[in-house]
């Protein structure tokens, strides 16, 4: 049955917001951020707002071209060959963006929850729902994302609130120095972390003109959670310790002093966050799959399934060669985002130019 043109927007906003949250909180390069005493609770939210710029450009181009989604914009702007190349580039960017939070969650699960299990066993349980969501389609992913949005928001709120007795503003000190350039450079580079999510969300078909609103709403939905989470992390740990801690948002619950029944439910939190990262990854991979399948003429579900398989394999590879892949990851942190930024920016500018000339 045909849906109205803007059907599923609320789900898309929730799913993209969730994905942005995971990008902002779970994928931080702790060593770099905290060694330079960067105020992450200011820099990263600013980076999110900064990353909206190319997305708004693309949205404007889509409105001018009358395109309902990114695929139509690319077909309007590029030839078939360039469309295929751009789709491949976006798919690579999606793979990287999808793998990041999954790898973080898998690492925490392996280290703190299932230390007796093999990585592949854990990833097998991650792969099944990821594959199912990828095959089912965007509507299913956004609806599931909308359902999970409230429990996820509640879980983050619970994590922040239960850690309140352990907060100490003294841990924010020493305050960052006056090296604005360092902070600005960190902010700008971190904006790349959000780009794959925001750009790939443009694949979801909507009325021309509403894409910018969706992106902005998703960013505004994620912004307070990102800010508060990063601030809470800084209030719980001094910067000297944060460089060596993975997923400090989860560990906050482990250091809160005193007993309590609810305070032992941190494992439930990590499972909810895993669910959120699976939905985010599925959204990215399915969006990339739709672009690729349009370019290749293959079934969308099959393409998305193959991308999900590649994503899980890459996470598994990272798990087994952690030190080596950490280096790869740090390079991909910037270049992975360029894989999504360059084709989108090129398509947007080409479309605007074409419309201007037309």
């Amino acid at each position: 049955m045909k849906y109205p043109p803007n059907s599923g927007r609320a789900g898309l906003i929730a799913s993209v917001g969730t994905a942005l949250f995971f990008c902002g909180v779970f994928s931080i390069e702790g060593t770099r951020a905290y060694a330079q005493n960067v105020p992450t609770y200011i820099a990263i939210p600013l980076a999110l707002l900064l990353s909206l710029a190319p997305v708004l450009l693309a949205a404007r181009a889509m409105k001018r071209a009358g395109a309902r989604n990114l695929g139509q914009l690319m077909r309007f702007s590029f030839s078939r060959v360039f469309c295929f190349a751009a789709s491949l580039s976006l798919a690579a960017g999606a793979l990287f963006a999808a793998a990041n939070p999954l790898a973080d969650c898998a690492r925490v699960l392996h280290k703190l929850v299932y230390d007796g299990a093999a990585y592949r066993s854990i990833l097998a349980f991650v792969f099944v729902p990821l594959a199912v969501l990828c095959v089912k389609g965007l509507a299913c992913i956004t609806r599931t994302g909308l359902i999970m949005a409230a429990p996820l928001a509640a879980s983050v709120a619970a994590a922040l609130l239960t850690a309140v007795p352990g907060y100490d503003t003294a841990r924010l000190f020493p305050l960052p120095g006056c090296e604005i350039i360092d902070a600005a450079s960190f902010t700008a580079s971190y904006s790349f972390a959000f780009l794959p999510v925001l750009i790939l969300s443009l694949v979801f078909p909507q009325n021309p003109g509403t894409h910018s609103k969706t992106a902005v709403k998703a960013a505004l939905f994620a912004l307070p959670f990102i800010t508060l989470s990063l601030l809470a992390v800084r209030l719980s740990y001094p910067a000297a310790m944060l460089g060596g801690i993975s997923m400090p948002l989860y560990r906050m619950g482990l250091v809160r002093p005193g007993p309590g029944f609810l305070l032992r439910l941190d494992k439930l939190l990590i499972m909810l966050w895993l669910a959120g990262s699976i939905i985010s990854a599925a959204l990215l991979l399915r969006c990339a799959g739709e672009l690729l399948s349009d370019a290749l003429g293959v079934r969308k579900g099959l393409t998305a399934f193959m991308l999900a398989l590649i994503c899980i394999m890459s996470v598994l590879a990272e798990a087994h060669g952690a030190e080596r892949t950490a280096v790869i990851r740090s390079y991909l942190f910037i270049y992975g985002a360029l894989l999504t930024l360059v084709p989108t920016a090129a398509a947007s500018l080409a479309a605007l130019f074409k419309r201007r000339m037309a």
Binding site: A10, F125, P129, I141, R143, I147, F261, R264, L272, L274
Partner: protein, 520 residues
């Protein structure tokens, strides 16, 4: 304006209604209540009465079938008529008193119009020119009256088959509100709905089903509330239904939606006329099937299955509380056994020291692994439930007591099970019974089992994976275009709110406003 024109057409009888308008109408080509005749089109009625008698006898398997009745009568004017009916389906006493005897006494010429207007004393009568349709009507309990040299016959609505009286809804009991339930007779069911919705906009339409058993069905919907595209789509689906299926509420659902492996029901089967009326007023369509004491309501959402009529009869606060408890019960039923198993096998640190000690102590002499113990108790619980349903009356109640109390206690004493696991299973069972819809209860049991297995394999990780798969599956189900989890997700295209009882404002209904009244 189109809506009023359509309404006018309904009232003028161009679209037949199942209850009959009572007004004489042009001779129809196809039967009123009946479906299309078996495999053949229009067949004119033989002019000779002997031919009619022979062909009708062949069709009704006379004289081998002792119930077929073919009775010739001759009036005072010397003209003959032939009454055809099936004993047991037709009220022969009324046929005798109000049809045959007046004909015997009559001196008028025996023509269909003359007899209909001046001789017989029957309210529901119509002319029929199709011989197949006439025989079809006879098989459904009417009596047919043929006349020498006439090209049409009279169909007399003298149904006299035994039917169950309108009783109390046993499977959907409420403290407040009406207690009556549907029966197996479609006429009675339609009448029950008409009593709840005495509106000109109520449409009762013959369903275009064609099946080997000749089962009749009707669609009942509110003209303003129901979406025309959904009605049309339902009609098409009913036409495409395979003919070799015995049509009931349950089989209708499987035919409409295909034979999927999904345990979730996609239609609501209700035996309460008030509930059916409430859904009709909110824009849904009721499919009534002759011989089936439930109405098939569609399109529905998961939240329709979780609602109970009692929610609407209470005030908003109490109704909302009842719903919240019901949803909590459903969630407990589905998730608690799996959650407990995952904590017991993988995440013992979450449990408090007291619970740990108690569970460990209770399992001291239990021989089987905790996962097997949990599954065993769940299976026993299902056995008790099934046995209680199959055994009638007070013995069935006793089975619940024997099974629940004695077996449970005995199992703990014999160290076949631990008391903690028994409590978990019992609480899960109680939560399952909070679900108002029987099929949804069974579906929840099925899903509970899947969660237990996933928890056994992977703990909370397994349960999370299973939960996402289940949510994805539910999110992708649609019931005639209505997403199963609406209005939770997506936010539109269904009545709101889902969880809490909405206000009864008496505002616009159905599709026009998108904010229909809270339904049962």
């Amino acid at each position: 304006m189109d809506r009023f024109q359509a309404l006018f057409r309904i009232l003028s009888g161009k679209i037949k209604s199942a209850g009959g308008t009572g007004a004489p109408d042009p001779v129809p080509r196809s039967g009123g209540m009946g479906c299309d005749s078996e495999g053949s089109g229009f067949r004119p009625i033989p002019k000779k009465l002997s031919s009619v008698e022979r062909e009708a006898g062949e069709a009704l398997n006379f004289p081998r079938d002792p119930d077929a009745v073919l009775r010739r009568v001759k009036s005072r004017s010397g003209e003959e008529a032939l009454a055809v009916c099936i004993s047991g389906l037709t009220d022969e006493a009324r046929l005798d008193e109000f049809v045959l005897q007046p004909i015997l006494r009559s001196g008028l010429p025996l023509t269909p119009v003359a007899v209909m207007q001046g001789v017989i004393e029957v309210g529901e009568v119509r002319r029929e020119a199709d011989f197949n349709a006439a025989l079809d009507a006879v098989r459904r309990g009417s009596a047919a009256l043929f006349f020498q040299g006439a090209d049409s016959c009279l169909i007399l609505g003298l149904h006299g088959f035994e039917r169950r009286q309108v009783g109390e809804a046993k499977n959907e009991q409420t403290v407040l509100g009406p207690k009556e339930c549907f029966t197996e007779c479609i006429k009675t069911d339609v009448a029950l709905i008409r009593r709840h919705i005495a509106s000109a906009e109520l449409v009762v339409e013959q369903a275009p089903v064609s099946n080997i058993s000749g089962t009749r069905a009707v669609l009942v919907y509110h003209f303003s509330a129901a979406k025309p595209e959904v009605v049309e789509k339902l009609r098409e689906k009913l036409k495409e239904m395979p003919s070799a299926v015995y049509l009931t509420g349950g089989t209708a659902e499987q035919m409409l939606f295909g034979n999927t492996l999904s345990p979730m029901p996609r239609v609501l089967l209700t035996e309460r006329p008030d509930r059916a009326a409430s859904h009709i007023l909110s824009g849904r369509i009721a499919l009534l099937i002759d011989g089936s004491p439930e109405a098939v309501i569609l399109p529905i959402t998961l939240f329709s299955l979780m609602n109970s009529p009692e929610d609407v009869y209470m005030n908003r606060a109490v109704g909302s509380l009842l719903r919240v408890i019901r949803y909590l019960g459903a969630l407990l039923s589905v998730l608690m056994p799996g959650y407990f198993l995952s904590l017991a096998l993988y995440h013992q640190g979450i449990l408090s020291t007291e619970v740990l000690s108690t569970v460990v102590a209770s399992r001291r002499m239990v021989f089987e692994p905790i996962g097997a113990e949990l599954l065993l108790l769940l299976i026993i619980f299902q056995l008790i439930r099934e046995a209680g349903q199959r055994v009638p009356g007070s013995i069935g109640q006793a089975i619940g007591i024997i099974g629940g109390l004695i077996m449970g206690q005995a199992a703990v004493s014999a160290h076949l099970a631990s008391s903690v696991v028994l409590i978990i299973v019992a609480a899960s069972g109680l939560g399952n019974f909070c679900i108002p819809d029987y099929r949804t209860q069974l579906a929840a049991s099925y899903i509970r089992l899947a969660f237990v297995i996933s928890a056994w394999l992977g703990g909370l990780l397994g349960m999370t994976s299973a939960l996402i798969v289940m949510l994805a599956r539910l999110a992708s189900i649609e019931s005639f275009g209505m997403p199963y989890l609406a209005p939770l997700s997506p936010k539109r295209r269904a009545a709101r709110p889902a969880l809490f009882r909405g206000p009864i404002t008496g505002g616009a209904i159905g599709r026009a406003s998108g904010k229909s009244e809270d339904v049962m």
